[in-house]
């Protein structure tokens, strides 16, 4: 079973534009308070790095669709907070039976879609059933354990074939989005959801605008509209912010914090994120089949120096980042020591090792330069092959034709890729696969998380890959804007609370 992995080019770009290194952003995760009274007619502009290729939330991959449309336009029975808690959304309450086999949701009354049609229990049944039975849609597998979906009045009951501790979480994502049954909307270019904002305008190559849904079932949005401006270049984004064209910079390069804070109109805020910069090591290649060689590579890398160069985030020594269940500090597994790395290489009988790193060119060169220097230090000749993302998808992801690869995996709770021997990580350990299956089948949250932690330790001790850093969620927010989420904005941006004063 595969789990979604989203890639955040924000992190790539941040890593790439480190010319003005030296300063780091503030570490206050609390959203800034508005100075002045919020103006309900205000417009907010938010810069994003990546734009969606189309708007089809059902099947088009890409984190920018999650950032712009989920929570704001589309909703599920349950939702997740920026901190990763599961809360009710279109369901007014939910209950899981002690055996973990029955999920009962009570659907909220009086909810309408943006086009005015009412939300019915049948819409929920049809949304989940259609997704489950359309294998072409990646998230269909997330509902694989559901045996039946039934509605009785406003009560919706899911019956499972086996317990699935990830199901509720999956329902907060794309797998759980509720659409109108038989809707005629062209999902490629339009949207019809139940959220606090409706899609007003999408101008490909420029921006996507959401406007307040005045018929929203919950508390109405506090601004008239929000526009996401897609600005790939960090410096261009800062210029736009300084000249008053945008209010929020998402995917902010923490090393440039001084530039925007000096104006007094912006504060830079840093929250936690689940972005994992994964140095994948293809263990099916002759050079990397020996775990001692992989350990040597990990030991040769100065993770502290990388975090310092990125300007935000923290070191990470295993597949699960701190915000996710199953996290454990695994820094005891490897520590930076070039001498140990050289010893490991000679024990493995490796001399004159030469490796190629395939890396999406959007990441820039900072990360590659550090890796080249670190590995060169222990006698490994690293050649860097920057490719465009389409080439990376083809060569590395699909054909597994690579030795080393770096990609930022932004998606939360994506441990399952380590339990999937067909994933491009090429990691195949039945013990880890078994622990992961047990974790899914656990009906107790603490037990599920403990099993994940055991599996994660094995992955790290096997040196299946290296984790270069766990990025932070960095935003620059105008001082007259409040309610901007700070945590995990690389994956989701819930605009329900955002407000702007005229000050």
């Amino acid at each position: 079973m595969l789990r979604r992995t989203a890639l955040s080019a924000a992190a790539l770009l941040a890593a790439g534009t480190l010319v003005l290194a030296g300063c780091t952003g503030g570490a206050d995760p609390a959203p800034s308070e508005t100075v002045g009274v919020p103006n309900p007619d205000a417009s907010v502009s938010i810069r994003l790095v990546l734009e969606p290729s189309n708007l089809d939330i059902r099947q088009t991959a890409g984190i920018s669709l999650d950032q712009t449309l989920i929570d704001n336009v589309y909703q599920g029975l349950v939702a997740r907070t920026a901190e990763g808690e599961i809360v009710d959304s279109l369901a007014s309450s939910h209950e899981v039976s002690p055996d973990g086999l029955t999920y009962t949701f009570t659907l909220r009354d009086g909810v309408t879609f943006h086009d005015g049609q009412p939300l019915t229990a049948q819409d929920v049944v049809s949304s989940l059933t259609t997704r489950q039975s359309t294998p072409e849609w990646a998230d269909s597998e997330r509902l694989a354990n559901i045996a039946s979906i039934a509605a009785d009045g406003q009560t919706i009951t899911l019956t499972l074939t086996q317990p699935d501790s990830a199901l509720l979480w999956n329902l907060t994502g794309r797998a759980g989005i509720i659409l109108k049954e038989g809707d005629a909307v062209d999902y490629n270019t339009a949207a019809n959801g139940t959220g606090p904002f409706r899609l007003a305008n999408w101008r490909q190559g420029a921006s996507l605008t959401l406007e307040r849904n005045d018929a929203y079932w919950g508390d109405p949005a506090q601004v008239a509209d929000v526009t996401f401006d897609f600005i790939p270049d960090n410096q261009a984004a800062i210029n736009a912010a300084l000249s008053g064209e945008i209010d929020v910079i998402v995917g902010f390069d923490a090393t440039l914090a001084d530039q925007v804070e000096a104006s007094g109109d912006f504060t830079v805020e840093t929250g936690s994120a689940t972005d994992k910069s994964v140095l994948a090591m293809n263990s099916t290649t002759e050079a990397l089949a020996d775990p001692r060689v992989r350990e040597a590579i990990r030991t040769a890398i100065d993770h502290e120096a990388i975090v310092e160069a990125i300007g935000a985030g923290q070191t990470l020594f295993g597949p699960i980042p701190e915000p996710d269940p199953g996290y454990e500090d695994l820094s005891d597994v490897v520590s930076y020591d070039p001498d140990v790395a050289r010893t490991l290489l000679s024990e493995a009988g490796v001399e004159d090792l030469s490796l190629t790193l395939t890396i999406p060119s959007a990441y820039g060169s900072t990360l590659s330069q550090i890796l080249v220097s670190n590995l060169n230090d222990v006698g490994i000749d690293l050649r860097v092959d920057p490719v465009d993302f389409g080439t990376w998808l083809s060569d590395v992801y699909t054909n597994k034709d690579y030795e080393l690869s770096v990609v930022n995996h932004a998606e939360p709770r994506d441990f399952e890729n380590w339990a999937d021997p067909d994933y491009y990580f090429t990691y195949d350990n039945p013990e880890v696969q078994e622990l992961y299956a047990q974790s899914l089948a656990a009906t107790d949250e603490a037990a599920a998380s403990d099993l994940l932690a055991q599996a994660a330790r094995i992955v790290s001790e096997d040196h299946a890959a290296d984790w270069l850093y766990n990025w932070a969620s960095v935003v620059a927010v105008a001082t007259n804007v409040s309610g901007m989420p700070v945590d995990n904005v690389n994956a989701r941006i819930d605009l329900a609370e955002i407000a702007k004063s005229d000050g």
């Binding site: 595969l2 062209d186 270019t189 210029n239 736009a240 000249s243 064209e245 699909t398």
Partner: protein
Amino acid sequence: MTRYALTRLGLLLLGLVVASVLIFLTLRVLPGDVAQQIAGTNSTPEQVAAIRERLGLNVPLPVQYAEWVGGLLTGDLGASLVTGTPVVAELAAKAQVTIPLGLMSMAVALLIALPFGILAALRRGRADGTFLSFGAQTLAAVPVVWAGMMLVVVFAVWLGWLPAQGFPRDGWREPGRAFASLVLPAVTIGVVEGAMLMRFVRSATLAAMGQDFVRTAAAKGLTRRAALLRHGLPTVGLSIISVLGLQVAGIVVGAVVIEQLFTLPGIGRMLVADVGLRDLPKVQGELLALTAVVLVVGFIVDLVHRGLDPRQREVS
């Protein structure tokens, strides 16, 4: 003249056919495809295969080419595989940014190149003429991206006169705002292109000054400047018309870079995004349309040149 025009038209059509084959084939060399992009990094090979099948990517290449050319002959440039939008509609929407940007860049380039180029020629050998030539050499060597960044810092960030990036969300509904958002990008392209064009104007002017008929006019009593302005400038104009045809290609390339830098929703930015997505039917439609523009402008320039230049008329 008619025979020349017909021959030239034949060459234009041949050029389009060759371009269509080259565009089609070179795009197929790119690794990866749009199905992988849509499916992303949480997909199984089966899912990618299903999307590939649905989008018709498994159809043999000769058949794909034949279908594309068949569509072209009926005026259909194809449609995006990702959004389903027709290429013609996409081009029309993005042309609202790119065509005004191109024209404004051209105007800026000419405003710089003509007066300073002619002046530099007239003042050749003197300090101010040398300074102008040197300035043009320097400006022409400036990277477009750097020039753009500097202009943004001064006119958008410091002075706040013009937008730093972007294009109004409602397009040309407020022409003043739309125009303002294109000024910095157009000046960025125009200054660099203008500096290159200026060197050309200078040498064309110098060549004209050496022409027999200009020297004869001077010998008959006109001042050197009057002889140049009255008799020499028409030949300078002819040379510039020829070069402008080439400048169109330069401005298209400039637009690709500048639209990224200023986040303008134009044809250049769309092309880069579509190549990244591997939306090949859309990319090939866009590239062919751009190629056609460059070829047709070249065709018109040649005809105009021939129509205006009495010496070329005599030869034919």
